[in-house]
């Protein structure tokens, strides 16, 4: 019996994204749509997000004109598709500190934010190194770091040190150190509540962009292929992918890459009037479908 209803909510997209960034190696292999999305969970009296989306007020125009990001819609409109308001959100699990995952902290005034201590402290360290090391902080916005500091000042920033079980009921987080970023984490939802769960879903952040990272492109010779960007190492990315797969008994579809364009055909889904996908990963016992 499922305890959480879970949706992946698209809020913007890059229509033509190079495959070589999603899947390291094959150059000149064309493009795919790269949805921008966050995850909404409802259950146990909590309304939880995994990641926040980016700050459209400050970057929307630039992202649209120079970086191919289109069809942005804010959290009020996106969450309303599931009957949720931003002020209803009680907790946000931040997988990593990139602008499109941690850029809208200020949109959720009542939420507590959970992030790996290593992620923030290593960002702070990298930020302190100076301009010539700016590659190490590419994609991180000092304004977002400020928002994180302000949330911490208000007592709404919870720093997690490594793996932790039951951060929220039935939800575990796992540190994937020195992978895509210094302190990326992935989120396990044991949706039957059991310690040895047979209904686990994993939300991978940017540790993978597509299911193909877990399987490779050749069905006759499956392999784990890392994404294109690792501030840490691709070895670590490969082993974190293996750990995620192990946790779901090798059932690839249970490791959810939020940037995967095939989620709407893998799970029940619907297209909103704003041309955004609502993907229903699970429905809590007695919960209302938002895609029917």
């Amino acid at each position: 019996m499922a305890e959480y209803s879970i949706w992946v909510l698209e809020y913007a997209a890059v229509e033509k994204f190079p495959l070589s960034v999603m899947l390291y190696g094959p150059q000149h292999q064309g493009t795919r749509k790269l949805p921008y999305a966050y995850v909404l969970l409802k259950g146990h009296g909590e309304t939880i997000l995994i990641d926040t989306g980016y700050d459209h007020v400050n970057y929307g125009k630039t992202l649209a004109e120079s970086y191919g990001v289109s069809n942005y819609h804010g959290p009020a409109e996106v969450l309303a598709e599931c009957g949720v308001r931003p002020e209803d959100v009680t907790a946000v699990l931040i997988t990593h500190a990139h602008f499109d995952h941690m850029g809208s902290i200020d949109q959720f005034p009542k939420a507590k934010f959970y992030v790996q201590k290593r992620e923030l402290e290593k960002w702070a360290w990298a930020l302190s190194l100076g301009g010539e090391y700016r590659f190490l902080v590419g994609g991180a916005d000092p304004g977002d770091i400020m928002k994180a500091a302000e949330a911490a000042r208000e007592g709404r920033m919870v720093l997690i040190d490594g793996d932790q079980e039951d951060v929220l009921p039935g939800i575990d987080v796992h540190l994937a150190a020195d992978t895509h970023t210094y302190g990326s984490m992935y989120v396990s939802v044991r949706n039957d509540g059991a310690r040895q769960s047979s209904d686990t879903w994993i939300f991978a952040g940017d540790l993978i962009y597509t299911y193909d990272n877990l399987t490779g492109l050749d069905p006759d010779a499956p392999q784990i292929i890392p994404i294109g960007l690792a501030v840490g190492s691709q070895t670590n990315l490969i082993f974190s992918s293996a750990a995620m797969l192990k946790e779901v008994g090798g059932e690839t579809r249970r490791v959810i890459p939020i940037h995967e364009n095939r989620l709407p055909t893998t799970f029940p889904s619907r297209l909103t009037s704003a041309n955004l996908q609502v993907v229903e990963i699970a429905l809590a016992s007695g919960g209302d479908s938002r895609v029917a």
């Binding site: 400050n58 970086y67 191919g68 590419g138 911490a152």
Partner: protein, 155 residues
């Protein structure tokens, strides 16, 4: 165009300073024991801020850039204050009032720099050129400037 290039350099310097100070703010608000925060990055930020303020004072903004210059100067002022207060936060005697003042000054600097970035696209706070989830294209700035239109939004 000369102002645009020169003010862009100032903006970039200010962004680097803000970046370093934001990292410091994060350590300040998430760690209980401040002695573990070394002053090295602060010294670096202070040096870069001083350099940027000199560059700022050398700017000669044309009339259409007055609004941009106003916010750039205000950002410089707030960053200067931030650096000064940040050193105070390093001492064992620092209190919540000093930390609040530091955060307020840094917030003001952030907001002014956001405004300058909106007025003069191409100098955003986040360096999207290295962002992994964006489809990179040639910067729009050069196209806009080459068209002969005003490069200042909202002017």
């Amino acid at each position: 165009m000369r102002y645009m290039a020169a003010s862009g350099d100032v903006q970039t310097h200010f962004r680097d300073v803000l970046t370093q100070l934001a990292g410091f703010a994060l350590l300040l608000t998430t760690r209980r024991a401040m002695p573990s925060v070394c002053p090295g990055p602060l010294d670096s930020a202070a040096g870069r801020a001083a350099e940027a303020l000199e560059m700022l004072h050398a700017l000669r903004p044309p009339s259409e850039a007055a609004h941009h210059f106003h916010h750039l100067a205000a950002a410089g002022d707030a960053l200067g204050r931030s650096v000064g207060v940040a050193y105070g936060c390093l001492t064992a005697a620092s209190d919540d009032g000093e930390r609040d003042e530091f955060m307020r000054a840094l917030r003001a600097a952030t907001d002014h720099l956001r405004t300058t970035a909106r007025l003069l696209p191409g100098f955003e706070l986040v360096d999207l050129r290295q962002a992994c989830c964006a489809a990179h294209a040639p910067p729009a700035l050069s196209c806009t400037a080459a068209s002969g239109q005003s490069v200042f939004n909202g002017e």
